[in-house]
Assembly symmetry: C2
DNA sequence: TCATTAATTAATGTTTTTGTTAAATAATGA
DNA sequence: TCATTATTTAACAAAAACATTAATTAATGA
């Protein structure tokens, strides 16, 4: 039976949390810039231990930021671009809302001082 | 003396960290959607205490996500859109790198099997 | 088979984050 | 002045995050 593959609703706090650590952010940036890398290659530039990086990779994977595939004795990691798309989509949504609320404020101010929630009116109560 | 106001280089881990908590994310989304709000208005929808929200706001402010101004007995909070721009800029940079590395891979594959790092060659060693 | 390499899991300690309640600070307005 | 309202700070506890070293799992290849 074929199950329709739905893009899982991104857990945004988890997604942002995965990017909130400097080591993890550096890993993501390196994967984006250089493509697929083994765990060992990702460990190399850092001073922290391999187990520490291994756990960072687990965090990135469970947040959907990277995926891993097995290639003989290596685990190769790569970026999942839909994670980047999810972040970008969130930002755009916020910006759209933000612009809309600015527009509303503009209109209110343009309509003149009979509106109840302009700064002028607000000051009076 | 006038000091040139430079946009501070965003601390991306701090920025993502600020967005990594569900309460804080909800606050940011509300500010984006509804504009400036007092601390009390931001506290209202949540079940957690006012001091807890106050600290969340401090986290958001120190990461540059929001700013606060004093209006009589209230502190009004609003989004700093440049924080959103910083996130969006980072994502776009990563995507650009990612596309570039895809292009390199495409070219390598197109150039034929004499390249050393195609999957085919890689399998042999 | 067995030593080597690659990576993860286990056990553990420290630091950070997040929450609570109580107290402090500050502005309003009767 | 003084009670009220708005918000933050202090003191503290619980949970989560992040690191370490040691042990385990798994594949390679001599």
């Amino acid at each position: 039976m074929i199950v329709q593959q739905t893009a899982p609703t991104p857990d945004l706090p988890a997604l942002f949390g995965a990017l909130a650590d400097p080591h993890r952010l550096a890993i993501v940036e390196r994967l984006a810039a250089e493509g697929e890398k083994t765990v060992g290659e990702l460990v190399a530039p850092f001073e922290i231990s391999a187990p520490a990086i291994s756990r960072h990779l687990a965090v990135l994977e469970s947040a959907g930021v990277i995926e891993r595939r097995v290639d003989r004795q290596w685990r190769k990691c790569r970026i999942r671009p839909d994670a980047l798309a999810a972040v970008e989509g969130w930002v755009e949504t916020q910006r759209r809302f933000w612009n809309a609320s600015l527009d509303r404020l503009d209109r209110m101010l343009a309509e003149g001082p009979q509106a109840k929630t302009t700064d002028e009116e607000e000051k009076k109560r």
